[in-house]
Amino acid sequence: MTFEDELRKGNFQVAECTDCKKIVWPPSDFCNQCFQEIRWRKCANEGKIIEFSKQNNNYFCLAEFENTIKIIGKVSSGIPTKDQQIRMERCGMIDDNYFFEFSLI
């Protein structure tokens, strides 16, 4: 899948329906609203924190991009707050698992 090929290179892409323009998340081969083809494009680099918690000394948060795509990732440094703006700092794959890391803005 293009998404995972790009993610392995550290690029976070989003699938958008070529017909109805819906953003399809999690990434898929077809639109989940109309089953039309999707195209890949770069995702907005900035989003906001929906919720967060902390394990040991590391914060993790549920973040939202483009008002649609929600993912859980690490907070690289600082103390997060709800609705705070964040930037995708790092993403990729280790074996078959995705990882995301955000920095606070």
Binding site: P26, E51, S53, K54, I72, G73, I94, N97
Partner: protein
């Protein structure tokens, strides 16, 4: 459509035993047969197995080991609500006329692969259930001004109630301080806030109305069924409310022609402390944000109405067996044979079983 009744059951003790999945299935099935003197192997039209175990062909294996040659046999997997999904499948076979007598057997090992949903990559590195539970807990605490001390009461209550359940994994009561001082898994979750994955099996026998009387004088009828799946991925969820539970409960209550205030006793899917008040609100037992008030009132009054067997936190959570064990508890309550756990005048009961952070829920209504 004829009525469908529950006429027998068998259950094992929940533990950390290293048993084979086939042995667990057989053990609770054997107990079910021992509880049903009039049950012959030839009576059984269908054998459904509920598990997340990776072993294959388990319903045929259980059938062979039990000497049954059913018309229908297959496995049902739906993470943590596999058990009630299998019961709903059994109900459907009977209601459609394809079967009259269905054996449903659920089992899981302590190391079940069903604890992690590999597909849900939107959770990144945070796929273990403690992370969605932490997000739920933080969100619920923030929205309704609930504290860790408040939520700890759920664990105290359910461990206490489990001491009257001979099959529960929990063998001691815990104080509020014990829960608050238990190992901190995240800022929002402690070890004693969690149900424990464990080893266990539970089986149940469903029949059409015409066949009930052969096996029992006291059948318990399934009068309401509601199911709803919102998504598979956690991140499409709501975080301080269980929308799939609300919809499933509404459907089940409508089918049974009851409302939530008619329910005398309920088994609620308390995978983590926060799930109990959230579920009570989503099931319509109390208003949004008031779930902890209800839990506190029940605990103060020593009222076992919610999770009399100790819930998942007190009983343990062998995924594929959980929904069946919950249903067995409500059957025992309605048959007035729950011993020290017995809720007074129980005539209508509810089972709430959910999967993967309430992305999917099943609700059953049971009646005498």
């Amino acid at each position: 459509m004829g009525k469908v009744g529950i006429v027998s059951y068998g259950i094992t003790k929940f533990s950390k035993e290293d048993s084979k999945i086939e042995s667990l299935l057989l053990k609770s099935t054997k107990k079910l047969f021992e509880n049903s003197p009039n049950l012959s192997r030839n009576d059984i039209d269908a054998v459904l197995v509920s598990t997340n175990n990776n072993s294959k062909y388990l319903s045929a294996i259980l059938s062979e080991m039990s000497g049954i040659q059913p018309k229908i046999s297959h496995t049902v997997e739906s993470l943590c609500n596999s058990g009630t999904n299998a019961i709903v499948s059994a109900y459907s076979y009977i209601a459609s006329g394809l079967a009259d007598v269905v054996l449903v057997s659920g089992a899981e090992r302590y190391d079940s692969p069903g604890q992690i949903l590999e597909w849900d990559n939107s959770r990144g590195e945070f796929k273990h259930p403690i992370f969605w539970a932490s997000i739920f807990t933080k969100s619920y605490k923030r929205e309704f001004s609930i504290t860790d001390e408040d939520l700890a009461i759920v664990s105290v209550k359910n461990h206490k109630q489990a001491q009257n359940n001979p099959n529960a994994i929990s063998e001691k009561e815990y104080s509020l301080d014990d829960v608050l001082n238990s190992k901190r898994l995240t800022d929002d979750l402690r070890l004693l806030d969690c149900s424990r994955p464990c080893t266990g099996g539970a089986s149940i026998l469903l029949t059409s109305e015409d066949f009930c009387s052969k096996f029992t004088d006291d059948p318990i009828w399934i009068t309401g069924i509601g199911q709803k799946t919102i998504s598979a991925g956690f991140t499409k969820n709501t975080f301080d409310y269980m929308e799939s539970t609300r919809i499933a409960a509404s459907s089940a209550l409508k089918m049974s022609k009851h409302n939530s205030s008619d329910i005398d006793v309920a088994e609620i899917h308390d995978a983590f402390s926060v799930c109990e008040p959230m579920a009570l609100e989503s099931l319509g037992f109390t208003d949004k944000g008031s779930g902890m008030d209800m839990v506190k009132e029940l605990y103060a009054a020593n009222n076992f109405k919610i999770n009399p067997r100790g819930g998942l936190i007190g009983s343990g959570h062998p995924l594929g067996a959980t929904g069946i064990a919950q249903t067995i508890e409500i059957v025992q309550q309605l048959q007035i044979c729950a011993n020290k756990r017995q809720v007074d005048d129980a005539t209508i009961g509810l089972v709430h079983n959910m999967s993967a952070a309430a992305t999917s829920s099943t609700v059953l209504i049971l009646e005498k």
